[in-house]
Subunit: 197 residues, 2 copies
């Protein structure tokens, strides 16, 4: 919708594609729409991205990276690891649930990529599991937690809380008790991670 005559960079294409996805959703967005928004022919878009799928993946990658930024464990180092873990899980849930509310079409795109088991989503999941592993390893270092290996523990915590952040469960997030349910699972998990006295 802004056919400005400027160099056609990957950056500009991604911006336009994200906008088109946000407005039309994954089902209706087309490469022609993206080209139209840039004021070029759709053939030009194919000079920068080999397929529509590659373009969509690139949009998702950028956008999942942006989204995961506030989940860097280095950003919250106050208090016991158990509490940092709860805050992290609640932040993740809030991010996903907020996206589902405020950006339903981009969220639907994310859901589709997850259903298709795209590599970009696997990378995002690995990133989240690594953040959990970091918090758990930190708890082990301080003597608060005692697990043989923080890596599978991190993955297990992510799996055990799938209901609260996995896009497949989005329809369950409107239940009023969902926050209490997350805390109940967290309670069990931190007792499981905790060192014996």
């Amino acid at each position: 919708m802004t056919p400005v005559a400027a160099v056609l960079t990957e950056e500009r294409i991604l911006d336009a594609a994200e906008d088109v996805l946000r407005r039309f959703g994954p089902a209706k967005a087309t490469v022609v729409d993206v080209a139209k928004a840039l004021g070029v022919s759709h053939g030009s878009v194919y000079r920068h991205f080999p397929t529509k799928v590659a373009l969509r993946d690139a949009v998702a990658r950028r956008w999942l990276d942006r989204l995961a930024e506030p989940l860097d464990p280095a950003r919250d180092t106050e208090g016991p690891a158990a509490e940092r873990l709860l805050r992290w899980l609640e932040r993740l849930a809030a991010i996903k649930q907020g996206m589902a509310l405020n950006d339903p079409e981009l969220f639907a795109t994310f859901g589709q990529l997850t259903a298709e088991a795209r590599e970009v989503v696997a990378a995002h999941v690995d990133h989240l599991a690594a953040a959990l592993t970091e918090i758990i390893a930190d708890g082990v270092r301080s003597g608060e937690f005692a697990v043989p290996d923080p890596v599978p523990a991190g993955r297990a915590v992510l799996h055990a809380t799938a209901r609260f952040h996995h896009p497949l469960h989005a329809s369950e997030w409107s239940a009023p008790a969902i926050g209490a349910e997350l805390r109940e699972v967290w309670r069990l998990l931190v007792r499981g991670l905790a060192a014996r006295p």
Copy 2:
């Protein structure tokens, strides 16, 4: 396919409807198909079930009950509660995963009912949570577990293992590591349930 002239009971209609659902799936099965299989007009089916949805729910109810039978905690009382819990979770996962493989159309019906949040599925989930609560309460009685209230704990364990039995996650069940992942989550959960020395 067996137009035997006999009394038209709810039982016989449910049998026929289950068969039709199994063969055609939730998307293509019609009330006319069910009537045809019974050798009656579709109007007759409506004398016994008010709507197609009610008929489908009744088939699902009967079939979920049958399916949950081997999950009665009274059927496995050997050994520590922690191990009974693992066996129960593995049995649940095996039942769901086996159904997805052997009866894909009925499983798809179940998935649809879950997505639509039908009451019949809520009852099934309550039943499963109650079974978990029973195993946990048993562990508390024997001093093996120490939780303030086994009821929310049972629900939390069911939620934390959603990835391994919830129909939304069916596509993830073909991963070879899925069994190990379940045991990893279980390990964390039983440590969380366990009494302090």
